[in-house]
Symmetry: D2
Subunit: 155 residues, 4 copies
């Protein structure tokens, strides 16, 4: 089964949540499983969208209790490994959609770039090194464009 | 969704594989997801049984490639963390059925006992300390008895 | 630098602590670094013995705070990975001395046997499979014998 | 014992190596242990500088063999957890100096920012979000300034 990770902050405002929910829905409609960190914010909104469309939702949790998963997670994976679980999210997906993002999201983008997993960004981090911009991959403007780009990467 | 882990060696003889397959089938028939290490032997036989009965099969892989999962794994979780993934198998299940077992299985039994996850054994390790036997939990004689004991633990 | 892991329970009685302290002292006197889980009980007693003899003490901690290390740990490694840190203790040593032990210790013995790291036991677990005893390696009767066996393994 | 992490790419040119070596030397002269990823490039140069000044050098290795550590690592910690070891590097230090950097370094900077470990950058990543620059912490221009800033953070 194909899987795409949706990464983003654990708390977010309504517009970002709407984008994440739309991304989740569109992935599920294409028969793609959603992998995320299992917590709130962007993770919960994406899982909600996928769940409402009948999709499979996988939450790779940092803590030691499956109950910390948001209510739209069908399959909680309980790592007990804290932030180290971010690597597992990236490794378990064939592409990553980053929506907004705090520092945890940045670590996941970095792992994806390091490991060669395609990244699609939606209102997320911009990087530069020695005053030269470094692309994270695709920069999408809408949920539909982000999902289309992800699907193309995992085809 | 309830999940039970089936743990055991990555290579096994036909009688042990038949037991594991039967355990996987019975779990799936009860609507319980199967969590395992995703490799061969007991893991593959259990996943096969669950898959053939229409169940959900989750493989927590030690390596860095989803392709190392056996062909009956529906949801591969790619940890890249080697043997440390054994902890995740245990934490992600509400009960553990140990079938046969080499040293990796022993580490998983130990983690389950440490973390308070119920263990049901089927032809597996026996423990003693200071010449006193230490029970691993339930010792079942058949796949059906093992699954019944596991279901009782997670009810 | 050669390193030997001393593993054992986080709380222990005085006789076991005395054995662990003696093991730590003897390792340090041979110029061997001590690796342990960094907590109390056998871990603290071994670190104390090594520290008092001027040895190097490394504590591989499960939590997220260096302050959880016992006061004899010179080098705290803060994993934040809970029980998964047990694998790191084993991988970072060339031999393992198990003193007493609860289930965490059992998981470490299992990892050592799985990974081929020599194990020396002192009042620790006994294993059997299909009613056949399975040796954990060397069973020592005294701290001096345990350290001598470990030194022979890492020579 | 205080510890500072030096993070950076596994291969680097001579000027960057010279900076890393100087950073390692200055840390050792202040009695601060060096934590790094244990591999080549910036990691090796920093370890070399610290080692030559009589300092303690700790290498948190991603692989399964202590032999992968560079020859200036006194204490190899063998995680076998791949990139997940980046979290351990950050958690085991009280401050982080980032020198140059590829995507692995970026993940470490992100973890440090997430976990509240002070970051000092030397020719490293620049970040922005929604076209607003996001500071990684201190941007130093020389090894001496980087070490001075790190020492101030851990005082």
């Amino acid at each position: 089964m194909k899987a795409v990770a949706v990464i983003g902050p654990g708390t977010c405002d309504e517009p970002l949540a709407a984008q994440a929910r739309e991304v989740g829905r569109l992935l599920a409609e294409q028969g793609v499983a959603l992998v995320c960190g299992g917590h709130g914010g962007v993770m919960e909104a994406a899982a909600r969208g996928a769940h409402e469309a009948g999709g499979t939702t996988i939450g790779i949790l940092p803590g030691t209790d499956a109950c910390e998963a948001n209510r739209f997670i069908q399959i909680p994976i309980v790592t007990g490994m804290g932030e180290a679980r971010n690597v597992i999210i990236i490794r378990s997906a064939q592409a990553v959609i980053a929506i907004g993002g705090e520092f945890g999201t940045l670590s996941e983008i970095a792992f994806a770039l390091k490991l060669g997993v395609p990244v699609i960004g939606l209102n997320t981090w911009k990087l530069a090194r020695e005053n030269e911009p470094v692309s994270i991959g695709v920069e999408a403007q809408t949920p539909a464009a982000a999902v289309a780009a992800a699907l193309e990467k995992i085809r």
